[in-house]
Amino acid sequence: MFIFQTFLWVDALQEEPFKVDAAKAFKTYSGTVYRLAFVRTGNTADADDILSDVFVRLIKNISKIKSEVHLRSWLIRATVNQSKTYYKKSKRIEKVRLADIDGAVQQNSEENLVLPAVMELPYHQKTVIYMHYFEGYSVEEIAGICGIAKGTVKSRLARARKTLKTTLEGVIMDV
């Protein structure tokens, strides 16, 4: 409605515009971006590249970010996009994978049980498992951020859990 739109404009003029502190954003979210990139690509070299790409892109688009919530969504969306059809295929992955995971892991005395299994999943499923269980996003939030239907998120989660249940049989019971 014309009237309401006008009011919104006026409101916007009076409010102080949100400014992103780039260094702070990196400190807060580099972990999230890196982990999501690692989940989707399966190796640290690509995760490094994507981390760099996403934050450089952030600088380019910094004026478009409207709030802290927007910043977080934007970063995740950018990471998902940059690694969109990213896959790295080569025989070396099978041999290197475990070593790569250990390399990626900075400090973890216990054995990685779940991580290798999750990394084996198709990348769509890996993404939703990571975002749902680690980052704590709801199905709706994941759907909104990734631009997919809610049902798609649910079915990907379901399929992933079914696979993990088999892979982790005897190791983890409550998948």
Partner: protein, 703 residues
């Protein structure tokens, strides 16, 4: 425990300090670069806002005195004075429309829903005069009411049911669509599903120029090619195009090139503060490339929704988008937020406006808070011809020269068995010279794989689905798969009534590839072994499976070759991970009751799922070649007289800094005369091809 383990194990994944420092340095450098570049935002926005503020004050004082000109409802809902009547239930002749008696909300065994009816009684559904299987117009008000009523019902259902989950879900089928391959012409065209119906792709050529998309940086590059020589002609960077300031992070989706017209399809998102979510819109950018060194922008055609697909038939471009409204939006949305829940269009710089109510339709039994939109644009005249919106429909399309079939996943919930059965809604729209007309709706069980799961032949619509039942987990609000998966073939008539079917095929497996050829349909299901089914569809009322050939591995893509043979591109299926290699198979289909695999080859250093994108596959019956990109080379395999496969070429692919992008599936191989061009976002390398010797590199251009 699973959750704790995930958190603990993932927490330990961090970038190294070295990486962090490197990134921070790059960020600083970019920041300095940004400071030296002047801001793009037009300054005129500020004084427009100021004028608007003054006008606002004027308007406030006028509305206080209640002048009818500024009556909100008349402004939005032009023409119809009867809108208000829809909101009162007493005027409805069918009072049941106000209660939740639609099948999706009650148990399938017919348990009396009177108790439920009481609980849901207060939710007002709009009084829409549905026609069985045929489209009905729906007004803006009715659309708003319907979406809100569905949402309200879901919310109430959540409260009342013990498991607390939604009873409605819409989801896509698994994805990640008659002359096939290359009709004899001087240059390679996109590998499309239906002859005469072009599909958008990342690389296009007209024999003189090659157009390549860089979807990483959203840039289109035009290169002039001549007997292997390549020269960059021009480039179009989406972020620097007309009206770019309104586009938030545009994504280059694909292009068309036809005559002197270039069509760029881009999707962009706008963040909504209100809902904390992104709204997606598609901008079709039309250019005149009479001189590809200087492309001239003609106009932008914008429509709301996320990009689903598109087709070019003659001069008419059809663009399909869809939009789903989630709870967070429905919760805060007002009736006046018309651009949030109605399909909208705009041309050039104008604001998005909802399409006319006479172009908005709904079919009976629709319970999804989403819409599907199809628009048509005459790319020669530079005008939009038609826009149609259908409530609910559309995740995948099959299009031929006369019809559009839009399918979407639906789920029906059974209270008794507490299980969900996925179904596919099919909406048929006819097309004629750019005019789009919704015609009929049909429904089958299961979900489709992709556009190739569907086909129209002699007026009959054939569709292959995978049926997978879902059950509710006992905790955690998650749906898990259980019950028997199986596959099915359905045949529907021109009004989308099912006339024939085969169900229960290949239990516990899902469809990996489908191809319809005339009266036959071929599809592959997979779990460990790959049956290739041959189905006889000559009698629409009684489809028959003629044979099921089992071979190891599976095919993601099936391509007819001549009359006798079907080519399959898929995976060896050894480890079922990305470590596997791609596989090319040749099936003898002369006797459909006895289909045989006559040859196959494992392609080394290749991507096992390359067949998932049919446009990535190059086929030339004229040259007896099939090809696609591997990890670092583009392969061409030769098919001899006895249908034996042998590797002919392994052309080096353009690589570069953006290796990190999806290089393999974005790379295309194009013949122009005797020269072969391997193209991707990194550049183009040309080779002189010869039947009797190895191809020779001629030229290379890096972008």
């Amino acid at each position: 425990m699973f959750k704790e383990k995930i958190i603990k194990e993932f927490e330990a994944i961090k970038p190294s300090e070295q990486t962090e420092n490197a990134v921070l340095l790059k960020m600083e450098q970019e920041q300095e670069k940004q400071i030296s570049v002047s801001p793009k935002k037009p300054a005129k926005k500020r004084w427009i806002a100021a004028i608007a503020a003054v006008l606002a004050l004027v308007i406030i004082s006028i509305t206080v005195f209640n002048m009818p000109i500024f009556d909100g409802s008349n402004y939005i809902f032009t023409g119809s004075k009867d809108n208000n009547n829809l909101e009162t239930s007493s005027n409805n002749t069918a009072s049941t429309d106000n209660t939740v008696s639609k099948e999706d909300y009650s148990s399938s065994s017919g348990e009396t829903s009177s108790k439920k009816t009481e609980q849901y009684n207060k939710i007002k559904f709009p009084d829409i005069k549905y026609k069985n299987g045929a489209p009905t117009n729906i007004s803006y008000t009715q659309t708003y009411q319907l979406f809100e009523a569905i949402y309200e019902t879901e919310q109430q259902h959540k409260k009342h049911s013990s498991s607390g989950t939604n009873s409605t879900l819409g989801f896509k089928g698994d994805s990640n669509s008659n002359n096939y391959g290359n009709p004899s012409s001087n240059y390679t065209k996109t590998n499309i599903q239906v002859e005469g119906v072009d599909e958008a792709d990342l690389v296009k050529t007209n024999g003189k120029y090659i157009y390549t998309c860089n979807t990483y940086d959203d840039i289109l590059i035009i290169s002039e090619v001549n007997n292997g020589k390549i020269k960059k002609a021009s480039e179009i960077e989406l972020e620097n195009t007309a009206y770019a300031y309104r586009y938030n992070s545009p994504n280059l989706e694909g292009i068309y090139v036809s005559g002197n017209r270039l069509v760029i399809i881009s999707e962009y998102s706008i963040y909504s503060e209100k809902t904390h979510m992104y709204n997606y819109n598609v901008a079709v950018k039309l250019y005149d490339v009479s001189d590809p060194f200087y492309p001239v922008h003609i106009n932008d055609f914008v429509q709301s929704g996320g990009y689903m697909s598109s087709r070019l038939i003659g001069n008419n471009l059809y663009v399909f988008t869809n939009e789903t409204l989630y709870g967070s939006k429905l919760n805060v949305m007002k009736k006046s937020d018309i651009t949030q829940y109605l399909p909208c269009v705009a041309t050039g710089d104008a604001d998005l406006k909802p399409i006319s109510e006479k172009n908005l339709f709904i079919f009976d039994g629709e319970v999804n808070t989403s819409y599907f939109m199809a628009t048509s644009i005459d790319i020669n005249a530079g005008k939009r011809i038609d826009s149609k919106g259908v409530i609910g429909g559309g995740d995948e399309v099959y299009v031929n020269s006369t019809s559009i079939y839009a399918v979407s996943g639906r789920v029906t919930y059974s209270n008794n068995s507490k299980s969900y059965t996925p179904k596919t809604h099919i909406i048929k729209l006819t097309i004629s010279k750019g005019k789009i007309t919704p015609l009929a709706k049909g429904e089958v069980k299961g979900t489709v794989l992709n556009q190739f799961s569907m086909d129209e032949h002699n007026g009959y619509f054939r569709i292959v689905t995978t049926v997978r039942k879902y059950k509710l987990a006992t905790c955690c609000n998650v749906i898990t798969s259980s019950g028997i998966d199986y596959n099915a073939v359905y045949v529907l008539d021109k009004n989308l009534k099912t006339v024939g079917s085969i169900t229960g095929i290949a239990k516990e497996e899902s469809v990996y590839s489908v191809r319809f050829i005339g009266n036959m349909g071929y599809f592959v299901t997979y779990r460990q072994v790959d049956p290739l089914f041959a189905v006889d569809l000559s009698n629409p009322k009684a489809p028959k499976i003629l044979s099921a050939l089992k071979v190891p591995g599976f095919s993601d893509y099936l391509h007819p070759w001549g009359e006798d043979v079907l080519i399959g591109v898929g995976s060896m299926g050894v480890t079922n991970t990305l470590s596997d290699n791609a596989k090319i198979s040749i099936f003898d289909i002369r006797n459909p009751a006895d289909v045989k695999e006559i040859s196959n080859v494992e392609v080394p250093h290749s991507y096992p799922r390359i067949g998932e994108d049919h446009k990535a596959i190059f086929v030339s019956e004229e040259k007896n070649l099939i090809g696609f990109a591997g990890d670092s080379v583009y392969y061409l395999y030769y098919i001899d007289d006895k249908y034996g496969l042998s590797r002919k070429e392994a052309f080096v692919m353009p690589t570069g800094e953006t290796n990190t992008a999806n290089l393999t599936i974005c790379t295309r191989g194009i013949f122009i005369g005797d020269y072969f061009y391997v193209c991707n976002l990194n550049g183009i390398i040309s080779y002189k091809y010869s039947e009797n010797s190895i191809g020779k590199k001629i030229n290379r251009i890096s972008f």
